[in-house]
Symmetry: C3
Subunit: 343 residues, 3 copies
């Protein structure tokens, strides 16, 4: 597979500067690319690499100065993603059909063009939509419903009755539908509260490796359409998110908290339970949120406050050791003034 720069520009919706006949056979990073490869610049931090890259061409934002053959676009990340899909080679997928070693219950409904890998289990009454790939060693519980075009990597788990929409991706070790953490304590004994609900992952959701999403106590834990969740994230029972949220690695959301649409959680951020975060709220990395967040507000810090306020406090804290010395000096001066005044 190779394309001219002109052809690639049409594909990604950009304009060419330099030689449009340049042949492109692959994609790579600015630092790694060689002859025949196209690279891209999205983060200005890497602009100096434009001078030294061995790439044949580069995808840049409109207005970037560049001497190489280039495609200029509004969103270099997106354009590069499209180029990579075309030129990056196919992702590995198991052969179509059911591997002879897989344990698929007779009552399971398997769609067309499904791949089911070795040692994968599909329990009673589960269904798997058309074109879905279940890699080896996957577990699909009884009555679970996996939509069409999904991709479940090895050792991902969907427990009984949980539901995945279309084009959902589960990375290795992701667990959908584990029990919520709930006990009723009496006389020093923690009695387990049955977790009777399910998890729903709407269309185009992606869960990272070893991420866990607990089933609801009753009703549903819901991850909204197009929400993307990174590795090692914890989503507790009865949480719901709107569309298009982004949750970075190792973040945690406690039970019954509700996120609006396009909410962003930074890495290792933590949310207490029973909160509401409005649309487009942002929680920065490692921050801990203990109360509701209005739409569009960005929160930061250990007991998070608005980010601007947080950094004002942080800046004040950085000056505090010296301020306390100043306070001592002032106290001394006031004492001396008082003496002079016969105080």
């Amino acid at each position: 597979m190779q394309l001219t720069l002109d052809e690639l520009a049409r594909l990604v919706g950009g304009t060419v500067s330099g030689d449009g006949a340049t042949l492109i056979r692959g994609v790579n990073g600015l630092g790694e690319a060689g002859p025949g490869e196209i690279a891209f610049l999205a983060n200005p931090k890497y602009a100096p690499l434009l001078a030294t890259t061995k790439a044949a061409a580069v995808i840049v934002a409109d207005g970037t100065a560049v001497s190489l053959p280039a495609i200029r676009v509004k969103n270099p990340d997106l354009a590069f993603a499209r180029a990579a899909e075309r030129l990056g080679g196919d992702a590995w997928r198991p052969a179509p059909g059911v591997h002879p070693s897989a344990a698929v219950a007779p009552s399971a409904r398997i769609g067309k063009d499904v791949s089911i890998g070795a040692f994968t289990v599909v329990e009673d009454g589960a269904s798997v939509g058309d074109g879905t790939v279940l890699h080896p060693q996957v577990y699909v519980g009884a009555g679970a419903r996996i939509g069409p075009g999904c991709l479940l990597w090895p050792q991902s788990v969907v427990r009984e009755r949980c539901e995945l929409g279309a084009r959902v991706i589960l990375h290795c070790g992701a667990v959908v539908g584990s029990d919520g953490f709930g006990y009723a304590t009496e006389g020093g004994v923690h009695h387990k509260i049955p977790q009777l609900g399910i998890v729903i992952l709407e269309d185009d959701v992606e869960l990272g490796a070893n991420t866990t999403v607990d089933r609801a106590r009753f009703g549903r834990t819901v991850i909204g359409k197009g929400t993307k969740i990174d590795n090692l994230v914890q989503i507790a029972h009865n949480v719901s998110t709107g569309q298009g949220c982004l949750v970075a690695a190792q973040a945690g959301v406690s039970g019954s908290t509700r996120l609006g649409s396009y909410v962003v959680l930074g890495g290792q951020a933590g949310l207490a339970g029973h909160l509401e975060l409005g649309d487009r709220a942002v929680v920065t990395a490692q921050s801990g949120v203990g109360k509701d967040v209005a739409p569009g507000v960005m929160m930061s810090g250990e007991h998070a406050v608005e980010t601007r306020r947080h950094f004002r406090e942080k800046a004040a804290l950085a000056r505090l050791p010296e301020a306390l010395q100043e306070l001592r000096r002032l106290r001394q001066e006031v004492l001396e003034l008082r003496k002079k005044l016969g105080g």
Copy 2:
């Protein structure tokens, strides 16, 4: 299965207000329940839902004002858990017996009424107690001992020689008995320190999805009776806990730290190694504890101090930016006073 409200009240130990003949066929949340379902109110935050719920009846704390048919109890959470166990339907479990695809070593001892799912491995000399369920794709290492009435969800792992008491629950992806993290460094090389010990999970312990408990360097890592641990928690080598501890998601306990009984760790809390936490100590979410904690004390913050002190510091920090301005003004005034006094 259906019960009258009167019958259900006897089952959960409560008193009825309203029509005791109301028929109850299922359980659900206040927001989700419909005709024939009983809901409950434990968190006062959701009291407004009492006015709008479509539930047929509700379980409430003694003294709660409610116009629906209701069961009044001391502990609505516990009463609802019992109602749910009776009316919530059976949890999924694999058929009794050993699935033909499972790899069970001839030397393994398998109790009565055990279920062993597809592709599950039970290695040499391991034992599995009566009535225990090993879901598909579980791993039980050589010489491991699983007690009676345990429930190991798909893809949970118990490594060699580790021991589980009665009624232990392991959620998907939980790992019991991985090597502790220990190296002896010399000449820039980290030499692995053999981890020769085991893990003991006492009766009624529950480990969440993808939680890891490391085997001891020698001796035992011990999780005490009735301790409940949420998802993605790290328990390092040689840790021990007393009875009935509660550890929320993504918390971490470093090596050789010892927890008393009924200790509570909030989500993402972290404990340094070689500490002692007394009975009923509490560490709030995201806090980091670097020294011993006396019984009953609650600790908070980045380098945790007693929670009351922590919030006093936090409140002071919130006033700090303005206090620094005030300090500057005072300095100016003192300078002017000094001038007036010919200072």
Copy 3:
């Protein structure tokens, strides 16, 4: 297997005090050891146990006062590790050869003296080096290369095309080569950016249970020779580390960040993306680093600063509530002085 204390001292490179003919048959901790066992003292916190231990002998640092038969060495941790390797019994490993239930592709190249356990999958074109052990339920993706002498515990995963050097250890549930977290957002839709690169784990790397290392967007995510990573750690795409780094449990490293050699990350520490940490930099537990760190510098805190500065700020914060009271008193006194002066 038993050795005299003299023989063991030669093995670990130490000098004997007390009866060199003492017979040693096993190793154990000071608190757990009994007759015939040797213990060790590395952490001075446990020195009081020297008086009560039932061990037959003990390994201590040169200069430690001890009345038991003892081996004196420079590094008791390392000496004990060597003693444990000799006397601690062999670790469990599956029988050599390929288990009949394993799914090994005909095109896979399997070295000599390899063990492959039940239900393990080795896909097309993968290679497994001499003497490597793949426990049951392991997944090795298409074209992956596993070096010689590696140890992959149950349910560890190496996705397609990733490469492991010699003597690499993967603990249960570790995932190598999951997709990096990258999307190009346009019109409210997060378009997945293909993750075309691989992961390279160099010789002697060890990854803890349920740790995740994402494949590069393009090029390589690299974990350098001899680096040891604990449980539940997240390593994002395009990260690289030098040799001999130590990463404690639940730490997270964001995309494209580069660590030098011998960098140490404490538990639950977090690093932002696109950073450089110099050789021997240290980030203490739970700290969050948002900018480059020079070689040898130790960083601490929520928005980490140099550790010394961090603790100075923390100490100032601890005095802040009282300092604010003092500030109020001073303000009052200045007002009174001003009045006296007719101000």
